[in-house]
């Protein structure tokens, strides 16, 4: 095996890990604060991808503007998911909440199929391929990685430097105590869901420049995202980033050495073994 190819795959793994980390952080943030897993999270990403696709191809928007459009649209969807689906069942048993967001998943999949059929749609961007030390790196992936890092940095600063961000972390530790501090927990939930939506919208924009979109896009990335969240420790932000990089390296490097299918098998085996050894995730539950 050519070491250059493996190095290239390793770098591609890191680049993929950035976007996966963005997804895992969004999902983890909502879980940590609202205590609900949005099974349909990657379906929101899929809608963001379609948003960029149609804004660019049908309406002729420039890509950056379409990306902002996707962020805005999915932020609103995130707020709606919370207000219409989560808020009414906040005190129901967890399994009902899981079923409700699972129902949303099938609804969104079917809705997308109904509107846009099962065609795989791609932006067909002519983005350059960079050659570095004999490795070929896609500019789209580098861009997606850089944007993911920036978004995560922004999230970090928000969660540590602002009153609302600190309150979001506080609510994830003790929601009743935070109500005693004067924070309306309903508002904190809504803000968290909006941020989760915004991150899904951004991820959608970053994925559509690399992959084609279809109504079942979530079937590929959804399970991977949940696996990463569980592996890193549900609600644990740093764990999510570590697990993202680990999984994307296994998939990317493993894919080069064997085949993509085999790499996924290996990734899931690692996941299963890790969960047996450390059921609370690599870095434990929550930071």
């Amino acid at each position: 095996m050519d070491p250059i190819l493996i190095a290239e795959a390793a770098i591609n793994g890191i680049l993929l890990g950035g976007v996966l980390a963005l997804l895992a952080l969004g999902l983890n943030l909502i879980f940590g604060v609202v205590d609900i897993i949005w099974i349909a999270y990657v379906e929101l990403v899929m809608l963001g991808m379609y948003a960029v696709y149609w804004l660019v191809t049908a309406y002729g928007w420039p890509l950056p503007l379409a990306a902002l459009g996707s962020v805005a649209l999915v932020t609103v969807l995130g707020l709606l998911v919370h207000l219409l689906i989560i808020a009414p069942i906040l005190s129901s048993p967890p399994v009902n909440q899981l079923l409700a967001t699972g129902g949303l998943l099938f609804f969104l999949q079917s809705f997308a199929t109904f509107l846009w059929a099962t065609d795989h749609r791609s932006l067909r961007l002519a983005l350059p391929i960079l050659e570095v030390f004999g490795m070929f790196l896609s500019f789209a992936r580098l861009l997606a990685f850089a944007m993911s890092i920036l978004a995560m940095l922004g999230l970090y600063l928000f969660l540590t430097r602002t009153y609302m961000g600190t309150a979001i972390r506080a609510v994830s530790q003790d929601r009743e105590a935070m109500a005693l501090m004067g924070a309306d927990t309903r508002k904190v939930y809504l803000v968290t869901s909006g941020i989760g939506g915004a991150m899904a919208g951004l991820a959608g924009a970053l994925l559509i420049i690399q992959y084609s979109v279809h109504p079942h896009f979530g079937a590929a990335f959804g399970p991977l995202t949940f696996m990463i969240c569980v592996l890193g420790g549900l609600g644990n932000m740093i764990g999510a980033v570590v697990a993202s990089l680990l999984m994307s390296e296994v998939i990317s490097v493993g894919g080069i050495i064997t085949s993509t299918e085999m790499a996924y098998v290996v990734a899931f085996v690692i996941f299963i073994v890790a969960i047996f050894v450390r059921p609370e995730g690599i870095l434990g539950r929550r930071e």
């Binding site: 972390r169 506080a170 003790d174 009743e176 501090m181 004067g182 309306d184 927990t185 929550r286 930071e287």
Partner: protein, 234 residues
């Protein structure tokens, strides 16, 4: 300042408080004592809005706040230091205090408030960048009290502040609560350490199975067999 008027409250089918009436005047320190399960913590949670009332009324400075939610009641000027401290363990000491001053009106005085709390509890200043979960029990209680003071409340509710603390720490804590009093705060305190709390407060109520049984001046009550009653509940 605080009037609890004929309040009945509970959880689901269970009634924890029956027709409870209690007042706290401005500048006063008042204790609620009684055996375990008497409803003391429920009373505190009712006042801070965590448990809704069924009948009766709650007033602060003559204005009713019955039916308000917890976060609105803080803005009215009542800060609740809950049982078990309930600090945010994975936030730093400073972040905990920042959350105590979460209300927009408190944010403007942040630096000044933090300064006065560090003066009152110097150990918190030393540990400001430490995660609150790494503090000792006594330090955590100081943090919980300091956090409540960040909103500059008119009334501060202290629920079992000495719970789980070593005897030496309990004495120090009471000394600190005495100093909080001297700062001019009005206090309503629930305590198991009946003797010590009676030396701290002006008046006290004895709560038994959800009803106020005895009420009086702390000095008078300390002389009666009230202390014994509070402990054993007969």
């Amino acid at each position: 300042m605080l009037e609890v008027n004929a309040v009945t409250a509970g959880y689901g089918e269970f009634t924890a408080l029956w027709d409870v009436t209690l007042t706290v005047n401005a500048g006063e320190a008042v204790a609620v004592v009684g055996p375990n399960g008497a409803g003391k913590t429920t009373l505190m949670r009712v006042i801070s809005g965590l448990v809704p009332i069924r009948t009766g009324d709650l007033r602060l400075d003559g204005r009713s706040f019955a039916g308000r939610r917890a976060h609105e009641i803080v803005a009215h000027g009542i800060a609740h230091v809950p049982e078990g401290r309930r600090i945010f363990p994975r936030l730093t000491v400073e972040e905990n205090l920042k959350m105590g001053g979460f209300l927009p009106a408190s944010r403007r005085h942040y630096a000044e408030s933090v300064g006065s709390i560090f003066e009152l509890f110097p150990v918190l200043a030393e540990r400001r960048r430490q995660r609150a979960g790494t503090l000792s029990g006594g330090e955590q209680q100081m943090l919980a009290i300091g956090r409540a003071l960040m909103s500059k409340p008119k009334l501060i509710l202290l629920d079992e502040p000495s719970l789980g603390l070593a005897p030496v720490m309990v004495l120090r804590l009471f000394e600190l609560i005495r100093r909080v009093r001297q700062e001019g705060y009005t206090i309503l305190i629930v305590e198991q350490n009946v003797r010590q709390v009676l030396s701290l407060v002006d008046r006290a109520y004895l709560l038994e199975v959800g009803r106020i049984k005895v009420e009086g001046r702390a000095a008078d009550l300390a002389e009666q067999d009230f202390v014994r009653k509070a402990y054993v509940g007969i």
